[in-house]
Symmetry: C2
Subunit: 504 residues, 2 copies
């Protein structure tokens, strides 16, 4: 069956990826282990798929039969009419190998195993069951998991646990995660921050499909332009290094590595049976491959957003425009600490900007302190247009403490904070400024007022984020996140360019 030659290798690769596509965008799914009532894993994922309006056909399976949520429950996988593309398995660990075999016999390209009770338990039985899964995978079915939250594919509505409310809008970010919890949280964060995913894979213990092969897949997937990863341990370091280096030369790969400390490794062992490596080696791998390191989920989200919204390029200087002097000072300190410049504006430009702003209290050296947290949208637009004239400014950051619109409502009965805040006009002003100047505008909109009496502010801020995002203005929660992300994007592209010039 084996042939030599690179043509054949190409064909094998593309065939492998055809299987991936069948799993990630399945037309026919068997959900194995669905009870007629309750919200166990099996019925939970079935209801989530229905809630997401999954585009294909669903076949619940349970030996007891019956119906649930208006669907017939099949007594066995074999009883399903026709073939299936994907099996979602949520039966007790001991019954899992049999369910995998059933799916294989039914022509499935792969299965996702939500059940736990395998290698991560550290028991003999768990290890033996996981070994059995590996043997089945070799026979011709791809396995995601066990001990995972499954797959999320916005295009088809295939959703992971417990995700009945994820976005159906596909986008450029592919995500591979050894933690299901982190994956589902990121999927939610992405929904409201405008980070759109191609496919998200929670690999759990990674008995078969793991980080390296999936990274290779996303590297070649035309719908994926940015790759994110949460990794606790790596199966084959050598191969991973090669694939990461190759993929990173084409697409940014954002990686959070859990378990870099001794205790972290112990926790990772209990979590997904992963064996992590040394922190120093890891750092060197990241550097050599030009991968983009992330410290936590928030950083993965910040970086995914920055890579999704900033054009490929080098960003050396920024302007920071906002009300509140301490924010300007903090921005300057953060920028300096990560090597981003905040060029001081020439005197004539300062005067032009100052003429637009409330006096006294404002300052236009850059950072620009607009002195009042309620400067109108049309003024901020003009400030942005003028600030962009400084040739050392590559990106502009606008910082808004919008909770300062709340006091207006104390003195104007019947006006809500939502009414008082010109959110839509800000969104237009910033996107117009970006269009006119050709320099991206990023918004930082912190959410400081988190009391029970400020739910109206929370609602206004969430609506603001939605509107800005729709107009192409990415929104960050804090200055640190915004500036560090700009720096990471800039570093990635400038290093990639340098390497291309020097090594190719």
């Amino acid at each position: 069956m084996m042939h030599a030659g690179s043509d054949m290798e190409d064909r094998i690769v593309s065939e492998k990826f055809r299987d991936f596509a069948r799993m990630f965008e399945p037309e026919r799914i068997a959900v194995i282990g669905v009870s007629a009532e309750g919200v166990g894993f099996g019925r939970g994922v079935l209801l989530a798929l229905l809630s997401m309006n999954y585009s294909g056909k669903l076949y619940p399976v349970n030996p007891r039969g019956g119906t649930t949520a208006g669907l017939k429950i099949y007594e066995s996988v074999d009883a399903i009419p026709g073939s299936i593309d994907l099996g979602i398995i949520a039966v007790p660990a001991r019954q899992v190998p049999r369910a995998v075999e059933d799916c294989m016999n039914k022509g499935a390209a792969g299965v996702e195993i939500l059940s736990a009770g395998f290698k991560e338990t550290g028991t003999e039985e768990g290890n033996a069951l996981e070994k059995k899964l590996c043997e089945l995978a070799v026979k011709g079915i791809r396995i995601i998991g066990p001990n995972c939250f499954g797959l999320y594919n916005p295009k088809t509505g295939l959703t992971m646990l417990p995700g009945p409310d994820l976005s159906r809008e596909p986008g450029p970010v592919g995500f591979i995660s050894q933690s299901g919890g982190l994956a589902i949280d990121l999927a939610h964060v992405g929904k409201w921050r405008g980070i759109k995913f191609s496919t998200m894979v929670s690999i759990g213990n990674g008995a078969d499909l793991r980080e390296t092969e999936l990274l290779e897949y996303f590297g070649s997937d035309p719908e994926t332009q940015i790759i994110g990863m949460y990794i606790e341990g790596i199966d084959d370091g050598r191969k991973f290094f090669e694939v990461l280096k190759s993929v990173s030369s084409k697409k940014p790969v954002i990686i959070m590595k859990g378990g870099q400390s001794d205790t972290g490794r112990r926790a990772a062992m209990s979590h997904t049976a992963s064996i992590g490596g040394n922190a120093e080696i890891w750092k060197s791998v990241i550097n050599q491959c030009n991968a983009v390191p992330a410290l936590d989920m928030k950083e993965i989200a910040d970086l995914s957003l920055a890579f999704s919204s900033l054009p490929a390029g080098t960003y050396k200087g920024i302007s920071v425009i906002g009300g509140g002097g301490a924010i300007g000072v903090a921005s300057a300190d953060v920028a300096a600490s990560c090597g981003i410049g905040i060029p001081e504006f020439e005197k004539s430009l300062q005067d032009e900007i100052l003429a637009l702003l409330p006096r006294p209290g404002s300052s236009a050296k850059n950072p620009v302190d607009v002195a009042n947290p309620r400067v109108p949208p049309e003024i901020l637009k003009e400030v942005l247009i003028r600030s962009a004239r400084n040739s050392a400014v590559d990106v502009q950051i606008i910082v808004q403490l919008l909770h300062h619109y709340k006091p207006v409502t104390f003195y104007a009965p019947g006006i809500t904070v939502h009414d008082a805040t010109p959110t839509a006009q800000f969104a237009d002003a910033f996107s117009e400024a970006a269009a006119v100047t050709g320099k991206p505008v990023i918004a930082v909109v912190p959410d400081f007022k988190q009391g029970l009496d400020s739910l109206d502010i929370a609602e206004m801020l969430r609506d603001t984020r939605r509107r800005y995002t729709e107009k192409g203005i990415p929104v960050f929660d804090d200055i640190q996140g915004a500036i560090k992300s700009i720096k990471a994007v800039s570093d990635y592209y400038s290093r990639r360019r340098y390497r291309q010039l020097n090594f190719n």
Copy 2:
């Protein structure tokens, strides 16, 4: 008038502090520059004082006279019957020196000047006006500002701009800030995180009253147990160093230093006319004085909360209990990076804890992965009680991803996420566990689901924070903040003890 001898010095010091007390807890306030309508600074602060139910008497002043908000407006300060303790000045910069003189003649201990247009403008006129203020201060009135947001004192209801809705509950944290914006934001954050303030002073340009003298005051104020500072520049480095060293030996002093970079210093110059120092020197000052450095407002809040809620002591080891393996892994990595131990539990203790938890999926080595984000309160209480038995555990952290109660509502019509989440029972369980074991319990309750469709989760989380806080369980937003704060508290007390043993 001057006498020698230490008794006299004590009397002078206490007299100075008597003036401070009159300013910070005034019984009679003149608000100078109050228009009959609108929400300018003057009328804004008057309305805020009324909204806060300020306990003393208010005398609005404006040459035009009239009434506002049911109060007579006096045509001059002189026309106010009797004396005043504090003048709040919100007239244009050129009229400020005259207003200060008027307050002095009326017997005021001090004034706060909200008006801008002084040294921070960098103009000749601004500099001259500020010099004039310094000359007046020498004549016997204390000045806060100019270009500041004023004073906040929960006990009396004296409030800063724009704070009509701050807490009236006094507490142990004194705060000195060169940024009014940062101060008012921290006051709000404190309200919902249970950080209670003695007095907060926004010093703005600090023409007269500044960081060093206020630090000395808070150092000797029996109501202040923890001191926080946001500083851009220091007036007298030598004196500040001595006072900081002395005060830090009695009370923790948390300091955020803005303007440590060149650009940051430029921004600070425009903000509050401050001249900052070198970052290396600053770091050395912090170390030598055993002050507690903070990077941003969130860290000031985290540290204030930790110092307010943890008993003075050394905290070397923690347990981390939560649902979601990646959180355990991340906790372990953060703890390792800052030198906090997560002791591995002995096998018998692991077995005892595992017997309480859902299987498979859970792990009890420490971090304890409870496998399910909806483990009931009574089980978590038992896990906390058992985990505390390990003698290397000094504090316990419970991590809760409470948004996972939302899916319950998808399948149970009529049930809200608030109904579904046993918040009150969790609060009881954790505080009982802390009482039984004598080891503090800290909660980490992240707010990941920030969409417009998750305002119900926001409400539930805010209520959770309120209930936990009321029961003495401090709540942090993220693991990093919780663990780093524990470490900072531990370091402060162990260094203080070491210095006392070695130098006294």
